[in-house]
Amino acid sequence: MPSSWRTTSSQRGAATGWWDERKQVTGKITSWSRPLPSGFSFRPPMLVRRLRPTPYFRAFHDLRTYQEDIRWPGWQVIIGIETHAQIKSHRKLFSESLTSAPDDPPNTHVSPFDAAFPGTLPKVNPKCVDLALRTAFALKCRIAHRSSFDRKHYFYSDLPSGYQITQQYAPLAKNGELEVQTPGSSPVTVRIKQIQLEQDTAKSTFNPRTRTSNIDLNRAGTGLMEIVSEPDMRSPEEAGAYVRTLQAVLRAMGSSDGNMEQGSLRCDVNVSVNQKGGPPGIRCEIKNLNSVRFIMAAIRHEIKRQTEYLLANPGSSVPQETRGFDENTFETFRLRSKEDAPDYRYMPDPNLGVLVLSQSRIEEIQKMLPALPWEKRSRLLEQYPQLGAKEQSLDVLLNVDNGRDVGFDGEDSGGVVGYFESLCREARADGRTVKRDPVVVLNWLTHELLGQLTARKQTFSDNALTVSQLGELIDLVQSKSITGTSGKFLLRHMLSSPSSDSPTKIATGLELIALPASPSFSPSSQGKGSASPELQSLCEAAITALPSEVAALRAGNRNVLNKIVGYVMKQSRGRADAVAVRNLVEELVR
């Protein structure tokens, strides 16, 4: 009937918006295709994403070619990961209270804003923004000069204000990528969809025995970066490697300590499977995975579950669900179906408005960007090609460097690579620059210093030796002023009784200065050139003390020589040079 049709259409035009109109035209919600009708000049940035219905696989064009996996032949697995990384800032994202460590007493880091007291207002902590920007640069994202904050509403005891402030519609950064090395195959590029700033929640624990909830607001309002990947991973191993690489990036940028056990890095993993050559399947999201091992196990279980479902129900698709992971059975379980998905009632935050980043601030961040582990590696190899033969030690150095404690607000806590570089090229207080052999320095660092620290159950951050102290110690050994054995002893001593004294002074005090082989040898040895007679007398004393060995040596048994030398070395407490002792003993016995 034309008349009734007209009524409907005019009603739609007036009372309802163009959104319904679009539904009418296309029959169902498909993709964002029609431009905004004229007359709506005002379009907040949030509109764009808001109206794109679940674009997850919709605009899917596979950048990866299918590769058969013998564990699930004929199936393609598609994985995308959302990572929540706690920002390592002194203060929370929107309040003045200090961030907390997991073992802090409950509710000791709380301001009225964190507890959602009436009359409180948020204020963006610029340090959090800077750290997220660093991360965005490291992930090669496009940075939004204007981003905004939105409120995501839900009622739960870990959310005092009833909403979480996040960046749903206009995130801080978009369209990045991360190159991920996987063992035994070529590197994979995972595209980063976006990075958004948001608040962490409080911690609530329900005690079923007493039927009470305990709420700890320490974590409430801590800054998080939500890093969303595109569905570019194809196996549990790639997913694991992605998270590990991302972790290294975050740590290198100082933006998060990326500690999964302590919950400062959490992952939600989206998994779908489809027959080879077919369209992508329906994804399921596994929430809150807190170790790489669990991530891989959860994906493996999902692949098994989803392929079994598809085989048992030919022609249908896997029901879209949000799932949890049981750390005991290593299986995923259903949390809620798509129909039960909560309506978060997103709303632009009326207090925070638009976060405007000036070009100069962005450039400043870019200029001060810390190096990534692999960038440090190639820089070191370029500068010191001789390290190419010591790749294992170099990797130890880089691992320790990336494993260092991440400082607050992006402050560098001083990594071992920087220490290494300063040792190789030390600018001394007197203006001189001392250059040292990088291979020797690397050996001292990785074998001696890091080895000693590990033995003492310490980390590099506990290292008490300054660059000039360790440098001088290495120089003493290199110039044979002290022996290698004495050098190691001196290092141990300086670690256990730290002081600001120079190694030379300490070595002298400990009587570690080497015994010169002859008066003419080693003129630099602190005016103790007359010590040669001491070595002479030590050797003579050895010959007296070991008559049978001396007799055997005279008889031609040269193996005994080592024993005599060893005796002298012991008597000298490591100060003697083994070669010199050997020559002197041979001379005396002859």
């Binding site: 309802t16 808001r50 009436p118 997103y346 709303m347």
Partner: protein, 433 residues
């Protein structure tokens, strides 16, 4: 919900007043969470309008003080204090001022700190000032309108200086001092601010003011703000949406009243626990607006309600920007200057559609929608964040027991000084005669 609640900190406005030597003598009644136009939605009962107290000896004759900041307006009108603070989200300072015959200022959004103000709708909430005359209002405004780093929406210092200078420049071109002359002043009368519900008595009062201003040399210019008719709908969608969000925090967990769930409730579901306290703690009007706002933000309604309301709000801002001579310094969208419409310094319109209604009349629930229609004259300035001042006008020709009428002066964002200056002129029209 917040009965017995004591905030652990002082609001910035309270500290500023105390630092300047003011005595804070008490708290006043208001509509619950600022939601209401008549101050009848309060757990302490309605506020009685103190004007013409003699005829209001029994509750049948009691009139409303207006809302939501009715207690503040009544306290000033009754002479209990020199001035009072209120909050104005959609007219909650100007309307009670009009009903009680006192001066009420809603300053430009962002000039006075909101730190410590219980949020109703953050993008609209303003701290307002109620006082017996414009001079007192001005003194308090100058004390309070300072930048506060605790308020993220506070106008930055540079912007304040900029707009202050352009206001001063414009004001100096109008020579007030010279024999009461208003030559050079351009006053706009918006045609959309005369709804059919507006009482003829009030129209007459406005006419008197307008002719007086014209006599002094001011140019009276009829103007049009075409989007005004959508303002009320836009306001109620946006304010309710923000309220549903802001009031989500009142769950009885951290503070406020808590109602224990009855035995047998499944307390593993948070919502079951919260529902008890929220049902018992919120009044009827608040619940109504929370539900409305929650709906406006739901996925199905968001586009047609919240976004649509935001678009309307933008149109209303543009309407105002078209008619004011001074550009809007606060908005970050480019100012359109090409418009052919005549430019004005201030707008003049009635503050309310009627004088204070009988409490008996309004609490019966008979005039359900009229309570909202009352806001029609005040919400556009709130949506656009503009300064608006309600000044009482008294017609000396009539008997003194008439109920007060307020006239609103509205200016461009940040021109609060000009609005106060013109308000003083309007006030003095009656003082001198």
């Amino acid at each position: 919900m917040l009965r017995g609640f004591t905030s652990p900190f002082d609001a910035t406005v309270v500290s500023l007043l105390q630092d300047s030597g003011a005595d804070v003598i008490g708290k006043t009644n208001c509509d619950e969470f600022g939601m209401g136009s008549l101050n009848i939605h309060s757990c302490h009962g309605p506020v009685w309008n103190p004007v013409n107290q003699d005829c209001a000896t029994d509750s049948l004759e009691a009139r409303s003080a207006g809302g939501s900041s009715g207690g503040s307006a009544a306290a000033v009108a009754a002479g209990l204090c020199d001035a009072a603070l209120g909050t104005d989200t959609g007219g909650s300072v100007r309307l009670p001022a009009s009903y009680c015959g006192v001066v009420g200022l809603k300053p430009s959004y962002g000039l006075i700190s909101r730190w410590g103000v219980v949020s109703y709708a953050d993008s609209l909430d303003c701290v307002g000032i109620l006082a017996s005359d414009v001079d007192t209002t001005e003194r308090i405004f100058h004390t309070l309108a300072v930048f506060d780093a605790l308020d993220p929406t506070a106008a930055p210092l540079g912007l304040r200086k900029e707009v202050y200078q352009s206001t001063e420049k414009r004001l100096s071109s109008i020579n007030f001092a010279k024999s009461n002359s208003l030559e050079g002043l351009r006053v706009g009368i918006p045609q959309e601010y005369f709804p059919s519900e507006l009482s003829t008595e009030i129209i007459q009062q406005l006419r008197n003011v307008v002719s007086e201003l014209r006599l002094r040399g001011a140019m009276i210019i009829p103007i049009s703000l075409p989007s005004t008719s959508y303002a009320l709908s836009s306001y109620y969608v946006l304010a309710s949406a923000e309220a549903s969000s802001n009031l989500a925090r009142y769950d009885g967990v951290q503070y406020g009243s808590y109602v224990k769930p009855p035995p047998g409730t499944d307390i593993t579901k948070t919502s079951n626990v919260y529902a008890q306290s929220r049902t018992a703690g919120f009044g009827e009007e608040v619940q109504k607006r929370i539900l409305l706002g929650t709906y406006a933000l739901s996925a199905d309604a968001f586009d047609n309600y919240f976004l649509q309301a935001q678009r309307v709000r933008q149109l209303i801002k543009e309407d105002f920007n078209h008619v004011f001579a001074i550009p809007n310094h606060y908005s970050d969208s480019p100012v359109m200057t090409s418009s052919k419409s005549p430019k004005v310094d201030v707008l003049l319109h009635p503050s309310a559609i009627r004088t204070a209604p009988l409490l008996n009349e309004v609490s019966s629930g008979a005039s359900d929608l009229s309570a909202y229609v009352q806001d029609v004259l005040t919400v556009p300035a709130s949506l656009a964040g503009l300064p608006a001042l309600s000044v009482p006008v008294k017609d000396s020709d009539r008997e003194s027991e008439r109920w007060p009428v307020g006239i609103s002066v509205v200016g461009q964002w940040g021109t609060d000084e000009m609005v106060l200056a013109i308000g003083k002129v309007v006030q003095d029209l009656y003082r001198e005669s």
